[in-house]
Amino acid sequence: MDWYPLYNSLRISAISTVAVFFLGLLAAYYIARLPRLVKGVLDVVLTLPLVLPPTVVGYLLLRLLGPNRVVGGWFLAHFDTKLVMTWWSAIFATVVVAFPLMYRTARGAFESFDETLADAGRTLGLSNSYIFWRVRMPYCKQGILAGTVLAFARALGEYGATSMIAGYTPGRTATISTTVYQLWRTGDDAGATQWVLVNLAISAVVLLAVNLLESRQRGGRR
């Protein structure tokens, strides 16, 4: 059995989870401080990928990153690199799709934070970044971890936008989800079943982790 799809899926998910972790945290932290109207608009825009069909996300990404489009064309001209149909193209899709999960969970966690702790830290002379990483983050740890795991799971399960922007090339852009579709389409039931089982196992572990984190969060609140 060729394990490339597993390897490819895991590295795409891992890289996009790291990106989404920081992007989601920053967005959740700063957007909470904006005026209400701006906050409402940004909130809708940033959460949209959660409810849009992945094919719509894929289409919009192609309109942006395709070789003849604004960003993709500029990139091709300056770096001689195509942004689509490579293994890492899928990262664009997974980041966009997984971002709202991280953003919304992090925001919920930050909203439960007791702001007097930050106020106390500032009157004691602690810098804002120290307070963020050493007081706010530990306080919101469980929620943020849950968001990270959910984002990873979503990235791993991405199919629609990934297949549009990265395609399916065995040994190059194939991921677990695109492989399952291809094997089924070509009548390889045994192969498809193998990958379905692999995917089921990973997803079960991830959901178990989320549940554990959430129950600890409920029990551990002071």
């Binding site: 007097t116 106020d119 830290g121 500032r122 009157t123 004691l124 002379g125 602690l126 050493r134 306080y139």
Partner: protein, 348 residues
């Protein structure tokens, strides 16, 4: 020395705080929601006033005209929060360590504060495992570790059970007695203010009144709100008449035996100053007994003076249970108020 002169609008609430404190403990006394905490937060830099000026020991912390607004980190003002705001993810020792500004002396400073505040046994524990009193000591140790120039106490005992309060109040006032700078002590408890501060600034509806000595506030409050905060419970509209006041609601004219200020609009009478009249006593009048409330150590008798108008406020008399026992069951009683016990007030 702390000078505060600030205004801040929050929705329909307007805060106007203006007072100066020497290197002393000054009480900010007011009912909840009067703007005491907002004033403290403006001084600490947590909230920003709309306009005005805050100066501490000659340094300008905030000045809307000069566009100065130091961040809280640079103000050197210690703030004891109502719930203490200890960092829950750190031990007591770590909570104190983060506040030490000079990293070279951190370990010795932490050890010293742990010893000074009797926290050595709980140094390795998280705040959640501490009792209320230990949490307060830990929060104070953390504040002192940051070497503040002024300390702000926001209702320091509101998070504690009342039986713990007395002991902790003693400890806190001893700790603060050794502090050379300004202490602002926010409270709604007149006893707490009297016991711990020599001077008091009364806040009412977002406005500060002039700073006065505690004796002046409790023995001769000038306004109705100050009298109310000092524990006075009976108030009636009053109009001055030479050395007398006329109280139209009760149909009474009471002698004050002193010139009544022409601005007087309200008379205040403390419940324990209402007593059974001796024969021919001045300011005696008969009342109907409306209700008797049996309290722990005293009886509270609600009276209505015989000449009262409809809707007149009840006159509250508070006396020893035994003293009331002799009169129990009477429908009307004759009571009196000594002239010097009548508080002549302005509506604030």
């Amino acid at each position: 020395m702390l000078h505060v002169d600030i205004r801040k609008r929050m929705g329909s609430f307007l805060l106007e705080s203006q007072f100066s404190a020497e290197n002393e403990a000054l009480a900010l006394l007011g009912a909840s929601g009067c703007g005491k905490s907002v004033t403290l937060k403006c001084i600490a830099g947590i909230l920003r006033p709309d306009e005005g000026r805050i100066e501490l020991d000659g340094q300008v912390l905030f000045d809307s005209a000069g566009k100065i607004d130091l961040p809280p980190q640079k103000r050197n003002v210690g703030y004891l929060f109502q719930q203490y705001a200890l960092f829950p993810n750190m031990t007591v020792a770590q909570n104190i360590a983060v506040a030490v500004r000079d990293s070279t002396s951190r370990e010795t400073a932490v050890a010293e504060k742990l010893r000074q505040f009797r926290l050595e046994d709980v140094a390795a524990k998280r705040p959640a495992a501490l009792s209320g009193g230990q949490q307060q000591r830990a929060a104070l140790a953390r504040i002192f570790a940051s070497q503040p120039q002024a300390i702000l106490l926001d209702e320091p005992f509101s998070a504690l059970d009342s039986y713990l309060k007395y002991q902790l109040e003693l400890e806190l006032s001893e700790t603060l007695a050794a502090f050379p700078g300004t202490v602002l002590w926010v409270t709604h408890d007149r006893g707490e203010a009297w016991r711990n501060c020599r001077r008091v600034c009364v806040m009412d509806g977002g406005h500060t009144q002039p700073v006065q000595s505690r004796e002046a506030l409790f023995l001769a409050p000038g306004t109705e709100s100050a009298a109310r905060l000092s524990g006075c419970k009976n108030f009636a509209a009053a109009s001055p008449k030479d050395e007398d006041v006329f109280l139209p609601e009760w149909g009474l004219t009471l002698s004050c035996r002193r010139a009544v200020p022409p601005k007087t609009t309200v008379a205040g009478i403390r419940s324990h100053h209402v007593h059974f009249a001796a024969k021919d006593e001045v300011n005696s009048f008969s009342c109907n007994v409306v209700k008797v409330i049996d309290d722990v150590f005293s009886s509270i008798v609600l009276l209505l003076p015989s000449g009262s108008a409809i809707d007149a406020p009840l006159l509250r008399m508070e006396l020893d249970k035994a003293a009331w026992g002799a009169h129990d069951g009477e429908k009307t009683v004759t009571v009196a108020v000594r002239p010097e016990d009548i508080l002549l007030l302005q509506k604030s």
